[in-house]
Symmetry: C2
Subunit: 939 residues, 2 copies
C-alpha cells in the first residue's frame, strides 16, 4: 500500500501540448487516447493547435478501481498544465478581463464516435463573459456560447453524470429546449440566429432558473467547479449505457479507459468569417485520392457531425450532383482552405495513412482540433491500400494490414440488379454513406428493428430515420441498411455504418417521416411501416419495392489485393461445401480444398427425393439385412456426389465426413410418407411407429450419432468408404488427381477409430483390387469436437492422420450450451455481461482454445507433422483464424462466402507473427513456406 502510494506520486497523469512542443506524441494512444496523442503529434510537427492538456487513461482506470476517486496527485498536475496553457494562449482561466475558455472531451484508444460526452465553453459565467465580450467585441456570440454551455453542462454533467433519472421528455435538456423555442416564438424568430444578444442574455437567466428548478441545484458559476465537473462527466460517460453497448459490439475491453483532453476553445461561430469542418485526406467511401470533407460557416464543432444541418462540400472536386449548389470552403475562404489543404497533405504523408481531421476557423484563423486515422469502408480500404503501396507511402505488409477482414465482406456483398434499378426508377437520392445494395421492410425506430430480427432471425428491415443518434446503435446493427433524411457523410449514421460496412444512405432530404401515421413520404409517394424499399448505398439511390439483387461483380482491386495477401499467408483456407455446386463456387472464392463435406446434407436438396427415401429406409431398418439392402440402394447416389465434388476440387483435398444424421429428424411426419416406407420395408404401421419411437432421444446432440452409429452399424461406414474409394479410383483411372480425406465425426475414444479403421482395412484393398490399383491416395482422420477427444488426442493420433476441430460442437460441449436452445438465455447473458461475445460466433480462446491447444500438442507428440484443421463456423471469423494461425494449424475451413475473409485474416496473423524485419513474402521465406507444406503431408 505504502509503495503504491509512492508510485502514484511519481506517476505522470497529465500531458501538456501547445505552441511548438507537446509532452506526448502519436505513439502514446494507449495512455492519451487517440485524440490526445494526435493533438500532441500535430503540435510536434508545427501545426496550429489550440493549447491544452490530456489526462491519461490510467486516471480513468484508477478512478473506477478506486471507488470513483482520483489519484491524489492529479489536481496539482492539472493546475500546472492549465498554467502552461494560459501562458501559451495568453489568457487566464476564470479571469474577468481576459478569460480562457476550454473544451473538455473524451478520447479512448480507439474512436467511439458519439459514445461519450463533451462539454464546450467551460469557464464562462456572468463575470468572465464580460471580459470576453470586450475582447471579441461580439456580445451575441458570447451570450450564445454561455447559453450553449448551460444547456450542455446541465444535461451532461449535472443530470446524466450525476445519475439523476428524470421521466422521459422531462430531462433538463428538453426543458431548456422548450425555453429556447418559447423565446423564439415570442420573438417570432425562425432560426436560433434570429435571436438578438439581448434575447440570449435573457435566455441565460431563464435557463439558470430552470436548471435549479429541474435539478434542484444551481448551475455552477465557478469556472474551476465547471472544469472538474466536466472532467468527471467524461470519465463517468465511459461506463454509460451507450458506451458499454458500443464496446460490446466492437469488442473493446472495459479496462482500456478513456483519456480526457482539456483544450483551449476556439470559435467557429463568431460570425461569417468563422467556420468549422470535418474532412478526410482521401475519399472514405471510394478510396479516391482527393481531399474530401464538409464544413459549415458560423458554427461550432458538434454541428457538423450531429447532422442537424446538411453541411457544405469542402471543395469543388468533392461536389456531387446532390451538393453542387452549396458553397465550398475552397470558394468561400480560399486562403484558409489553401492552408488547410497543405496541412492535410502533410498529415497524409506524415501518417502514411488516410486521416479524418477536424478544424475550426476563428475569424479567418485556422486551428486544427483533431486528427485521427479515418474510418473507411471496404472498397475504399482496398483501394487506398493499393494506391498508397503504389505511391510508396507504405510497404506491402502494411497494405495487407490496412484492410480489416470484416471489411472484405462489403466487397462481397450483393448489389441491386442494375436492370431492376433502371426499371424501377429512383424515388429519391441521398449521400452514399455505405456501399452495396439492400432490400428490406421499413421500420421507423431502432427498437422495432431489434424486435423484428429478434422475432425472426432472417427478417430484413431497413431503418428509416430523420437522423440517427447513439441510442439507435443496436437497431442499426439489426437492420439491413439505414436511410436518414438529414446528416452528411460524417454524420453519426454514416460513421457507424461505414465502420460496419453496412449499406447506408444519409441526408436524403426528400424523405419525410410522419410518426403519427407511421408513414414515410417521399415526393408524394406514401410508404407505410412494413412496406418494402431497396437502397443502392454505392450510388445513394432509394427505390420503392423489393428489387432483385446480384452478387458483387468482379472487383479488379480486390483480385490484386488478394494476390498480395496470399504471399504472406501460412494457413491454408478451405471451404465447407456439401455439394459439387458449392465446391465449384468456393473454389472461385479461392478455397484450397474442402475441409468439411457433410455426407448427409446431400439429402436436403431439391433433387434428393430418392436418396432421402433410401436414407429413411436405412434409418428405419431394424436388422442388418434390411439396412444393407437400403445401403445398397443408397450407394450409387453417395458415390455420384462424392465423384462430382472430387471433380470440382480436382488436385485439391476433399474431406468427407462420414454420416452424422440426426436420426429422428429423418423420420417423416406425414402419414403417406410413413406408409410408403413401411411398405418398402414390408412392416406394419404399428411396427413402423415402434421403430420411429425408438429413435427419439432426450438429448439428441449427445445421443446415438456420428461414429457411434458407425460402430453399432459398421455396414453404414463400409458403404461410405466404398463409395469414396470407388469414386476416387474411377477418377484416377480417368487421369484426374482426386484426394479424398475420410473424416470420422463425434470421436471421443481412440478405440472408436480403431474400430472404424478395421472397416477401412477390409474395404480399401478390395477396391484397389477391383480397379487394379496399387494404391489410392487418401488420408483417414477424425473430428475433434468432443472435449474428451481433445484430452485423449495423444492416443487418438495413433489412428488419425489428421484432426479437424469441430468448434461448433466443441463449444457446445465445453460450455454445456445446446445450440438449439441457447437463444433462451444468450440474450440475457450478453445484456447482463455474463458473456462479452457469443462463443458460437467468436471462439472462446481461453477454454475451447485451450482444449484445441492441448489436442494439437498431444497429437503432434504422437504423430509429428499431423495435419490439423478447423471446420467449425469459427474458421471464417478473423480473430479465431488468427488463433488458429498461432496454434500452427494446417488449414481453416469456412463457408464459401467467408473464404476471402479467412485468407486475409490468415495473412494478417502471419504478418503480426513475424519477427521485426522478416518478410514472409521474400524468397527465403517462400522456401520455409514450402517446407511447411511438405511437413504437413508427412503421415
Amino acid at each position: 500500500m505504502a509503495k503504491d502510494k509512492e508510485k502514484s506520486k511519481k506517476r505522470k497523469y497529465v500531458y501538456y501540448f501547445g505552441g511548438k512542443k507537446a509532452e506526448g506524441e502519436a505513439g502514446m494512444k494507449n495512455l492519451l487516447g487517440g485524440k490526445g496523442a494526435n493533438l500532441a503529434e500535430m503540435v510536434n510537427i508545427g501545426l496550429p493547435v489550440p493549447a491544452g492538456f490530456t489526462i491519461t487513461t490510467e486516471v480513468c482506470t484508477a478512478y473506477y478501481d478506486n471507488n470513483k476517486k482520483y489519484p491524489s496527485e492529479l489536481k496539482k498536475q492539472v493546475l500546472d498544465a492549465l498554467k502552461m496553457t494560459e501562458a501559451e494562449m495568453d489568457a487566464k482561466f476564470g479571469d474577468k478581463k481576459n478569460p480562457l475558455l476550454v473544451s473538455v472531451r473524451s478520447g479512448a484508444r480507439s474512436s467511439m464516435p458519439g459514445m461519450m460526452e463533451t462539454v464546450l465553453n467551460v469557464g464562462l459565467n456572468n463575470e468572465t463573459r464580460e471580459g470576453l465580450i470586450k475582447k471579441t467585441n461580439n456580445a451575441r456570440f458570447v451570450y450564445d456560447s454561455q447559453r450553449r454551455l448551460i444547456q450542455m453542462y446541465s444535461d451532461v454533467v449535472m443530470e446524466k453524470a450525476a445519475g439523476i433519472e428524470t421521466e422521459e421528455g422531462k430531462g433538463v435538456r428538453v426543458q431548456l429546449e422548450h425555453e429556447l423555442e418559447k423565446m423564439k416564438k415570442a420573438r417570432k424568430a425562425k432560426d436560433d440566429t434570429d435571436l438578438t444578444a439581448d434575447d440570449l442574455k435573457a435566455l441565460i437567466e431563464i435557463y439558470k432558473k430552470k436548471v435549479k428548478q429541474v435539478l434542484g441545484k444551481p448551475f455552477p458559476e465557478d469556472p474551476m467547479e465547471q472544469l472538474w465537473g466536466a472532467i468527471g462527466a467524461v470519465f463517468q460517460s465511459w461506463m454509460g449505457r451507450r458506451a458499454i453497448a458500443y464496446r460490446r459490439i466492437e469488442s473493446i475491453p472495459d479496462n482500456w479507459g478513456t483519456a480526457v483532453t482539456v483544450q483551449s476553445m476556439v470559435f467557429g461561430n463568431m460570425g461569417d468569417t468563422s467556420a468549422t469542418g470535418v474532412a478526410f485526406t482521401r475519399n472514405p467511401a471510394t478510396g479516391d485520392n482527393y481531399f474530401y470533407g464538409e464544413w459549415l460557416p458560423n458554427a461550432q464543432g458538434e454541428d457538423v457531425v450531429a447532422g442537424i444541418r446538411t453541411p457544405n462540400p469542402i471543395n469543388e472536386i468533392g461536389k456531387s450532383e446532390h451538393t453542387g449548389h452549396l458553397k465550398s470552403l475552397e470558394k468561400a475562404m480560399p486562403k484558409a482552405y489553401k492552408q488547410l489543404d497543405a496541412i492535410q497533405k502533410s498529415l497524409g504523408i506524415h501518417y502514411h495513412d488516410m486521416l479524418d481531421i477536424e478544424f475550426t476557423i476563428q475569424d479567418q484563423k485556422l486551428y486544427m482540433l483533431q486528427c485521427r486515422i479515418g474510418k473507411r469502408n471496404g472498397t475504399a480500404a482496398v483501394k487506398m491500400a493499393l494506391d498508397m503501396l503504389k505511391e510508396k507511402l507504405i510497404d506491402e505488409k502494411t497494405a495487407v494490414m490496412r484492410v480489416a477482414p470484416s471489411q472484405l465482406e462489403e466487397l462481397l456483398f450483393p448489389l441491386l440488379d442494375p436492370k431492376a434499378e433502371v426499371k424501377a426508377g429512383a424515388l429519391c437520392k441521398g449521400l452514399p454513406a455505405g456501399p452495396g445494395g439492400a432490400v428490406g421492410k421499413i421500420v421507423l425506430t431502432a427498437a422495432d428493428a431489434v424486435e423484428a430480427v429478434k422475432k425472426d432471425k432472417s427478417a430484413k428491415v431497413i431503418l428509416v430515420r430523420e437522423e440517427t443518434n447513439p441510442e439507435d446503435i443496436e437497431g442499426m446493427r439489426a437492420a439491413q441498411a439505414v436511410l436518414t433524411a438529414r446528416g452528411g457523410m460524417t454524420s453519426h449514421a454514416a460513421l457507424v455504418a461505414r465502420g460496419w460496412g453496412k449499406c447506408c444512405i444519409v441526408g436524403a432530404a426528400d424523405v419525410k417521416i410522419d410518426f403519427t401515421t407511421r408513414t414515410v413520404h417521399i415526393k408524394g409517394e406514401v410508404l407505410k411501416e412494413g412496406d418494402w424499399i431497396s437502397l443502392n448505398g454505392t450510388k445513394g439511390t432509394v427505390y420503392k419495392g423489393q428489387l432483385s439483387t446480384v452478387s458483387a461483380t468482379e472487383n479488379q482491386d480486390l483480385v490484386k489485393f488478394m494476390k498480395i495477401i496470399d504471399k504472406y499467408r501460412r494457413l491454408k483456407v478451405r471451404t465447407n461445401a456439401d455439394t459439387p455446386e458449392d465446391a465449384k463456387k468456393a473454389r472461385e472464392f479461392g478455397a484450397e480444398g474442402i475441409g468439411l463435406f457433410r455426407t448427409e446434407h446431400m439429402f436436403y436438396g431439391k433433387h434428393s427425393e430418392k436418396p432421402l427415401f433410401f436414407l429413411r429406409k436405412m434409418i428405419i431398418s431394424s436388422t442388418e439385412a434390411e439396412r444393407r439392402a437400403a445401403l445398397d440402394e443408397l450407394f450409387p447416389y453417395v458415390k455420384k456426389d462424392v465423384k462430382g465434388t472430387l471433380i470440382a476440387m480436382d488436385g485439391l483435398p476433399v474431406t468427407f465426413r462420414t454420416l452424422d444424421p440426426p436420426l429422428h429428424e429423418f423420420v417423416p411426419e406425414q402419414r403417406a410418407e410413413r406408409e410408403k416406407l413401411a411398405r418398402a420395408l414390408k412392416i406394419s404401421m404399428s411396427q413402423f411407429r415402434e421403430r420411429a419411437d425408438k429413435l427419439h432421444e432426450v438429448n439428441p446432440m449427445m445421443g446415438h450419432r456420428g461414429v457411434r452409429l458407425g460402430i453399432t452399424y459398421p455396414e453404414i461406414t463400409e458403404m461410405q468408404i466404398r463409395a469414396i474409394f470407388e469414386a476416387t479410383a474411377e477418377l484416377l483411372i480417368a487421369g484426374k488427381k482426386p484426394f479424398p480425406e475420410i473424416m470420422i465425426p463425434v470421436t471421443c475414444i481412440e478405440t472408436e477409430l480403431a474400430h472404424q479403421y478395421e472397416i477401412f482395412n477390409k474395404v480399401y484393398p478390395e477396391v484397389c483390387k477391383k480397379f487394379k490399383l496399387k494404391e489410392i491416395p487418401h488420408l483417414i482422420g477424425t473430428m475433434i469436437e468432443i472435449p474428451r477427444a481433445a484430452l485423449a488426442a495423444a492416443k487418438i493420433a495413433e489412428y488419425a492422420q489428421f484432426f479437424s476441430f469441430g468448434t461448433n460442437d466443441l463449444t457446445q460441449m465445453t460450455f454445456g450450451f445446446s445450440r438449439d436452445d441457447v437463444s433462451s438465455f444468450m440474450g440475457d447473458y450478453l445484456s447482463k455481461k455474463i458473456l462479452k461475445v457469443d462463443p458460437f460466433q467468436i471462439l472462446d480462446q481461453d477454454t475451447v482454445g485451450e482444449l484445441m491447444k492441448i489436442a494439437c500438442d498431444r497429437g503432434r507428440k504422437t504423430r509429428p507433422g499431423i495435419k490439423l484443421g478447423i471446420c467449425g463456423e469459427h474458421g471464417g471469423e478473423p480473430s479465431s483464424v488468427e488463433f488458429c494461425h498461432r496454434l500452427g494449424l494446417t488449414y481453416v475451413s469456412c463457408s464459401p462466402f467467408r473464404v476471402p475473409i479467412a485468407r486475409l485474416a490468415a495473412a494478417q496473423a502471419a504478418i503480426r507473427d513475424l519477427p521485426a524485419g522478416k518478410d514472409p513474402a521474400s524468397k527465403k521465406n517462400k522456401k520455409a513456406k514450402s517446407t511447411g507444406k511438405i511437413k504437413s503431408k508427412k503421415k
Copy 2:
C-alpha cells in the same frame, strides 16, 4: 531389433521348482502367475510338491505381440527344466519303462477360476502306458488316465485352441462322452468306475478313431507334441471368449498374460488309498478360524471343483447338518489328514492370510498341488481381518487392506425377514455359498437372466441351474442370486458368487430341473419359470414365493472394523440426501455432512402436492411479478425442508444446491392439473399451452438450467438464499450449530457466479439484520460439472469458496454421452471393447479425471486451501474414491448406502499412499491430519 534379440537370449523364461529348492518365490506372481509363484514358495518352505516348472507371463505377452510365436530361447529352457524335473521325480518324460506324466495349467497374476484351460496326464500314449502299468501295477488306473487325456486334449488343444468351430452338441467332447455312455450301456455299468481295465483299453482306441473322424487329425502319440500342444492351448485360452468376459468384469488388463505351469502328475484316482481335495485354512463363508474343506476319494483334481459329485467334508468340525452323513478325511485317512492339517497351519502363519489349497493323496502319500490367497465373502473378510489382527498375524493397516470395499456391500445387504421365513417354511436346503437374502423370479439359463435385466434394469431374477460353468458368468452377474442343485462350497458357482458377494446356494440336491417343461421340482412342489422364490444365502434355505426382506442388522464386527479404518482416512465422506429423513439415515451410516442436497427433489415426494403446485406456477409464470408471487408461496416449504435437514446434520456441513429443475418435466400433462394452474395464474388455456411449449428444449441437458435460470430469474436464487439463511438464523438462535454451504450448479463462467454473488450480497445482510445476528456461518461455492468450468477454475475460484465435482454431468459433457440416451449404444461399446467400463459407473481418470485435476490445481492457485469435493455417483465407487484421495479432495459424497464403502476406499487409498513405515493412525500423523483439516477450512 538386433539388441532386442540379444536381450531375449539372456532372458529367463522358465523357472524350475522341486525337491527343496525353487527358482521362484511367492513375490514373483506377476512373472510366474499366482499358481507358479506359490508352488515355488511351498517348495522353498519344505512342503511336499511334485516337481515341475513355470513358463512366465512374459512369454504369453510376447506370444501375442509377436503374431503367436514363442521367443526363440523358450524351447531350450523348457527342455532343461524338464530334465531337472525328471531327475527330481526319478522318471523320464516319454520313457517307455519309467515314464513321467505332467499336468499343464494356466496361472494368471490374479485367480480366474475355471476361465482358462488345463490338460492332465500329458505324456501318456500306448507305449508309455505300459511302463506306467508295470510301475503302478494298476492297469485300470492307467487306461482311465489315458482315456481322460484323450478326452481333455482333443477338446482343449485340438478343437478349442485350434479354433475349430463345430456345431452345438457336435464338438469332440460331446462325441467322446457319447462313446463312453455307449460303452457303459453295453457293459451295463452304472458309474464310470464300473468299467474294467479292458473296457477302458478298448475305449481308448474307439476315442482315437472318433477324434480323427471328428477333427480330421489323429490324436498325437508323441509325448513332446502333446506337451507343446498343451502349452499352446493354455496361452490360447488367455484370449478365449470366457476369459475376456471375466477380465472385463474384474477389470484385469489383457496384457498381464498368463503363465503356464508344467508339473509332474500325482494321482488321486489310484484307488481307495488315493484322494484329492480343496480346502481353506479358515471358513471362507463365515471367517471362523478352523480348517475347512472338501475331498473326494479316488478322484482327480478337477472332480472336486467341477461340482459333478458333491464332495465330503474334510474334517469333523466342518460337518454341517447337510454333510454330516459323509465320511471326513480326518476319519478316513487320519495320518494324511494330520500331515495336511500341520501344513495348512504352517501356511496360514507363513502367509499371514487365509489360504485356498489343493492337495492330492497318491496311495497314502500327500502332495500339495496349489496354494493361493483364498477368496472370501465380506462377512468373512471382516471377521478374518479382526481375528488375525487380534492374533497379531497382521497389523492394523494390513487388516484395513484385507476387505475389498465392494465386499462391504454384502454386509449392508438386506436379509430375508426371519418372521417371514418361519411362516413360509423352507422348501429345501443347500450349502450357504453366498450370504444375504435374495428374492426373484426363476430363470433357467444364463442367457434368460441377461435378457430379463436387459429388458428391465430393475428386474429381479434368480438363476436356478444343475451346476454353473464358466459360460454362465454373465447370467450370474445379472441375477439377484444363484441356486444350484449340485456342487460344493468350492464349486464354480460358489467361488464366483463369493468373489462378488452375491447371495448363492449350491448343492441343493432336492432341486430337480426339467428342461422340457421348463419347471423346477423341489420335493413334489412344481415351480414354473417366472415363479418367485426367495433364498437365504447365509443359512442356505430356499423358500417358495416372494418373502419380505429386512435391512442388515447391526453387525458388531463391522462397527469395530469401521472404527479402525476411520483412523487411516484423510478424505471426509459425506452423503447425497434430499430430505431430512435421508439425512438422518445417512448420518447413521457415518456420513460427515451432506455433499449434495438437491432442492428440487423435495417436490417429488408424497407430501409435496402443494409445493409442487407452487413450483409449477413459478415455472409457468411469464412475468417477474407472477414469478415472485409463486416464489413467495414456495418460500415456507423450502425453508422448512432446509431447516429439517440442518437439524438432522447439526454440527456438520450441508451443501444446498440451488434449484436445477428440468423445466419441461415440471409442466403437468393432465388437463385437470393444467386447468388448475391456468386458473391460479389467471391465464387462458391457450396461453398456458403457449408458455408450456416455450419450455420445450431440444437438448434440455444443455439448456436453460442451473445457474442460467438464476441469471434470467434472479428472484429464484434470491428466494432460496433467503430461505437457507432464515432457517440457519433461527437454528443459531435456538442454540444449534447449522452450517449451510450454498452451491451454484451448472456454472461455466466466473461471471455467472459474480452475478449470483450479488444476490447473496443483497440478501445476506438483510437476514442478519432481521435476526439481529452479526454473521451467519456459511460458504458459497459452485459445482464443477461443465468442462469449461474445470478449465476456467482459476477465475471461478475468485468467487467460489468451494468446488464440488458433479462427475455425472462432467462425464456426460466430456464424452458427449447423454445419460438418458447412452443405453442405445453403451451395450455395443462394452461388448465391442470400445470402452472397458461404463464411465458413468467408474470415473474415466484419463480425461474426466484430468479435467478434475486441472480444476483442483487452478482453483488452489487462486484460493489456497479451497475446499474440494465430489458429489457425482462416482463418489461412492472405490477406484474413483482412491483417485479423489490422490487429487487431495476434501471429501467425497455418495448415496447413504455407499457411505461405508467410500469410507473404506478412502482409508485404503490413504494407506496405499503412505511412504513405507509411516502410519497415519500414529499420533504424529494424527497431527498432520488435523493440519490438513485446518487447511481445508481456509477460505
